[in-house]
C-alpha cells in the first residue's frame, strides 16, 4: 500500500515535470511554429537566474516564480527582436539559428558560471509514508504544473489577449486588417513562451544540478511531448505528458531509469509513426 502511494506520486511527478518543461515550447513551437532549439538553454538560464537571485538574498520562491520568468522573458524579447523576427516562416533557418543561439548560450554559461555543477537546496522538507521517504518538493512541482496548465487554458480561452494571440497565429493578415499588429503580438507571445521556459527551469533547478550543458537533457523530451501532443495546446500537452510519463516511469521501475529514458524516446518514435500529427488530431479534437 505504501509502495503504491510512492509509485503514484512518482508517476504524477514524472508527468508534471514533462508538462512543465514542455509548456514554454508549446507556446513558441505549438502556437508560433518557431522551432526553438535553444529551449533547453532558456530553461537553464532560468535556473541560473534563480541561483544568482538566491545568492543575492532573494527569497527562493520569489526567485523561482517571479525573477526567473522575468529575466528569461526579457531575454526572449531581445533575442526575438535580434534574430527570430527575421526568420518567421523559414522553418529550417529558424531551427539552425536557434541551434546557433543554444551553442552560444552554452558557451556563455561556461564562461560566466564555469564548467561545474551549481545548485540550490530544495526548500520543502521530505516526509515519510510507511517505510518510504517522499521528497516534498515533488508535490510542489505537481501543484505548479497543474496551476500552470489551468492558467494557460484560462488565458487562451477566457481573455481577449489569448483570443487575439490565437487569431493572429492562424491568420496574421486578418488580425492586421482588424487593427492588431502581428509583429507586436508575435514578439509578446515569444516573450511569454520564453518566460514559461524560464519558470520551468527555475522550478526544476533545486532537483537537478545545473551544468552549462544541462539544456540538452530537456530539449528532446520537450520537443517530442509538444509534437506528440499535436495542435491542441493544453489538451495535447496534458495527454502527451501523461502518456510519456507513464511509459518512462513504468520502465524505470521495471528495469532502470536509463531504460526508462530510452523507452520514452522509442515510444515517441513509434507514436510519431502512428499519429504523425499528434495525439490531439485523433482524440480531444477541437479543444484547446
Amino acid at each position: 500500500m505504501d509502495l503504491a502511494v510512492v509509485i503514484l506520486v512518482e508517476v504524477l511527478y514524472a508527468i508534471a515535470s514533462l508538462a512543465l518543461i514542455s509548456a514554454g515550447l508549446a507556446v513558441v513551437f505549438g502556437m508560433m511554429k518557431v522551432i526553438n532549439l535553444a529551449h533547453g538553454e532558456f530553461m537553464v538560464l532560468g535556473g541560473y537566474a534563480t541561483i544568482t537571485a538566491v545568492g543575492l538574498g532573494v527569497n527562493i520562491f520569489v526567485a523561482m516564480l517571479v525573477v526567473a520568468p522575468l529575466v528569461v522573458g526579457l531575454f526572449g524579447l531581445i533575442v526575438e527582436r535580434l534574430v527570430f523576427r527575421h526568420l518567421y516562416g523559414r522553418m529550417i533557418d529558424t531551427m539552425l539559428a536557434s541551434w546557433g543561439l543554444s551553442l552560444m548560450m552554452i558557451g556563455a554559461f561556461k564562461m560566466i558560471f564555469g564548467n561545474t555543477t551549481t545548485g540550490v537546496s530544495g526548500p520543502i522538507p521530505g516526509f515519510t509514508v510507511g517505510n518510504y521517504q517522499i521528497n516534498g518538493y515533488n508535490f510542489f512541482i505537481i501543484v505548479v504544473s497543474v496551476l500552470l496548465l489551468i492558467a494557460m487554458l484560462a488565458v487562451l480561452r477566457g481573455t481577449r489577449a489569448g483570443l487575439v494571440a490565437r487569431g493572429t497565429m492562424q491568420r496574421s493578415d486578418m488580425a492586421a486588417a482588424l487593427g492588431h499588429s502581428p509583429d507586436r503580438i508575435y514578439m509578446l507571445t515569444f516573450a511569454v513562451g520564453s518566460a514559461l521556459s524560464g519558470l520551468a527551469g527555475a522550478v526544476l533547478a533545486p532537483l537537478v544540478g545545473l551544468v552549462p550543458t544541462a539544456g540538452a537533457a530537456f530539449i528532446a523530451k520537450a520537443f517530442i511531448t509538444v509534437i506528440a501532443g499535436g495542435p491542441s495546446l493544453v489538451a495535447g500537452l496534458a495527454s502527451a505528458a501523461g502518456f510519456f510519463g507513464l511509459v518512462n516511469q513504468f520502465f524505470s521501475f521495471l528495469v532502470s531509469p536509463v531504460v526508462g529514458d530510452v523507452a520514452l524516446l522509442v515510444a515517441a518514435v513509434v507514436l510519431l509513426r502512428l499519429l504523425p500529427r499528434g495525439i490531439t488530431t485523433r482524440f480531444f479534437r477541437g479543444r484547446l
Binding site: I92, D93, L96, G100, V258, G278
Partner: protein, 342 residues
C-alpha cells in the same frame, strides 16, 4: 562520357591532387587526416541535404556507427579490411531501415529532423550505459563512457602486419575522399541524382511523373549513411579510440554548421566548411579566453542571418564575376515545405 563530364572529372582530379600534395606543406598531416575525415562526413550530409532535400539532424549517428563497427569488427577479426567494408555496410543498412520507416510513413520535414535527432540521442544514451563486462560483442567490450580503445588500426589489405598510420594514413584518407567525391559527382550526374534533385525542387511534380519518391529518398539516405560510416572508420583509425561522444548532439550540430557555412547544393562547399571550421576549432582550442562553442554558435547565427547561401556559392559568383562569365547561381536549399497544419 560527354566532353563536359570529362572536363569536370579531370578538373576535380587535378585540383584534388594539387590540394592533397600541397596542403601538408602548410598544415601538419596529423591534423589534416582529421580534416579529411570530417570533410567526408560533411560531404555525406551535403549530398542528402543539399541535393536530396533531406535534412538529417542525426548524421552523427551514422558516423558513430561506422566508427564503432570498425572498432568492434576489428577486435573480433584482427585485421581491418573486412571491418572497413562493414563500417560502410552497417550504417547503410541501419539507414535503410530507419529511412524506410520515415519515408514510407510520409513524415514531414520537421518530424524527420526530430526522429533522426532522437535516434542519435538513444544511441548516445545507451552506449553511455554499456560499461561493465555484461556488454560484449564477440571479444569487444563496449566500455560505456570510456569507449573502445586498442582496436586494430587500418592495414594494407591482406597484410595485417603492415599498419597504415601517420603520413601514409593522410594520403590514403585523402585519396579515399577524392574517390568518394568523384563517385558522388557521378551519382549526381546519373538519372538517379537528377531525379533526387527534382524531388528536392518539387516533390509532388516528380511523384506525378511516376517516380517512387519514398524508395528514392530511402536509397539516397542510405548512401549518405554509407559515406558517413566510411568517414567514421577513418576517424576511428586516426583517433585509435571510439567514444559515445561521436553520437553527441554537438557532433550532429557541427556537421550541419559545416554544410551551411560551406554552402548547400554544392559538392565542394561542405568539405570546405568542415575543413575551415574544424581547423578554426582546433586553433581556438589552444586558447581559453573565449569558449569555442560560443564562437561556433555565433558563426552559425551570423551565417543564417547574413550569408545563408554559404561560402562556396559566393566564391563561385566572385570567380564568375572575375572571369566575366555568367552562370546561373546554385540553389541554396529546398523551399520550406508545408509543415503540419493546425
Amino acid at each position: 562520357m560527354t566532353g563536359a563530364t570529362r572536363r569536370d572529372t579531370a578538373l576535380v582530379v587535378i585540383l584534388g591532387a594539387a590540394l592533397i600534395l600541397g596542403l601538408p606543406l602548410v598544415i601538419d598531416t596529423h591534423v589534416l587526416t582529421l580534416l579529411v575525415a570530417y570533410g567526408m562526413l560533411a560531404l555525406s550530409l551535403g549530398l542528402i541535404w543539399g541535393f536530396g532535400g533531406v535534412l538529417c539532424f542525426g548524421q552523427a549517428a551514422f558516423f558513430g556507427l561506422g566508427a564503432y563497427t570498425f572498432a568492434i569488427a576489428g577486435i573480433n577479426i584482427g585485421e581491418s579490411t573486412l571491418p572497413l567494408i562493414l563500417a560502410v555496410l552497417v550504417p547503410a543498412g541501419f539507414a535503410l531501415v530507419l529511412g524506410a520507416m520515415m519515408f514510407y510513413g510520409r513524415l514531414g520535414d520537421v518530424y524527420l529532423a526530430v526522429i533522426t535527432l532522437v535516434v542519435s540521442l538513444i544511441l548516445f544514451r545507451w552506449l553511455n550505459t554499456t560499461a561493465g563486462p555484461a556488454y560484449v560483442i564477440g571479444n569487444a567490450r563496449l566500455g560505456g563512457f570510456n569507449g573502445i580503445p586498442g582496436f586494430p588500426i587500418l592495414n594494407v589489405p591482406g597484410r595485417p602486419d603492415l599498419m597504415i598510420w601517420g603520413e601514409p594514413l593522410y594520403y590514403a584518407a585523402a585519396v579515399t575522399l577524392l574517390v568518394v567525391f568523384l563517385l558522388v559527382s557521378w551519382l549526381l550526374r546519373s538519372s538517379f541524382g537528377r531525379i533526387a534533385i527534382g524531388i528536392r525542387e518539387n516533390e509532388e511534380r516528380v511523384a506525378l511523373l511516376g517516380y517512387d519518391i519514398r524508395a528514392r529518398k530511402t536509397v539516397l539516405f542510405a548512401i549518405g549513411a554509407a559515406i558517413a560510416g566510411l568517414a567514421g572508420a577513418l576517424y576511428a583509425t586516426w583517433a585509435e579510440v571510439v567514444t559515445p561522444t561521436l553520437f553527441s548532439l554537438q557532433q550532429s550540430a557541427e556537421i550541419i554548421i559545416w554544410c551551411i557555412v560551406g554552402g548547400l547544393g554544392t559538392r565542394f562547399g561542405p568539405i570546405l566548411g568542415a575543413a575551415v571550421l574544424a581547423y578554426l576549432k582546433f586553433a581556438l582550442g589552444q586558447q581559453s579566453v573565449i569558449d569555442n562553442m560560443f564562437i561556433l554558435g555565433l558563426v552559425l547565427v551570423l551565417f543564417v542571418l547574413f550569408l545563408p547561401r554559404g561560402i562556396a556559392p559566393e566564391l563561385a559568383r566572385l570567380g564568375a564575376w572575375a572571369t566575366g562569365s555568367r552562370r546561373r547561381p546554385a540553389r541554396r536549399r529546398p523551399p520550406p515545405a508545408g509543415v503540419a497544419d493546425g
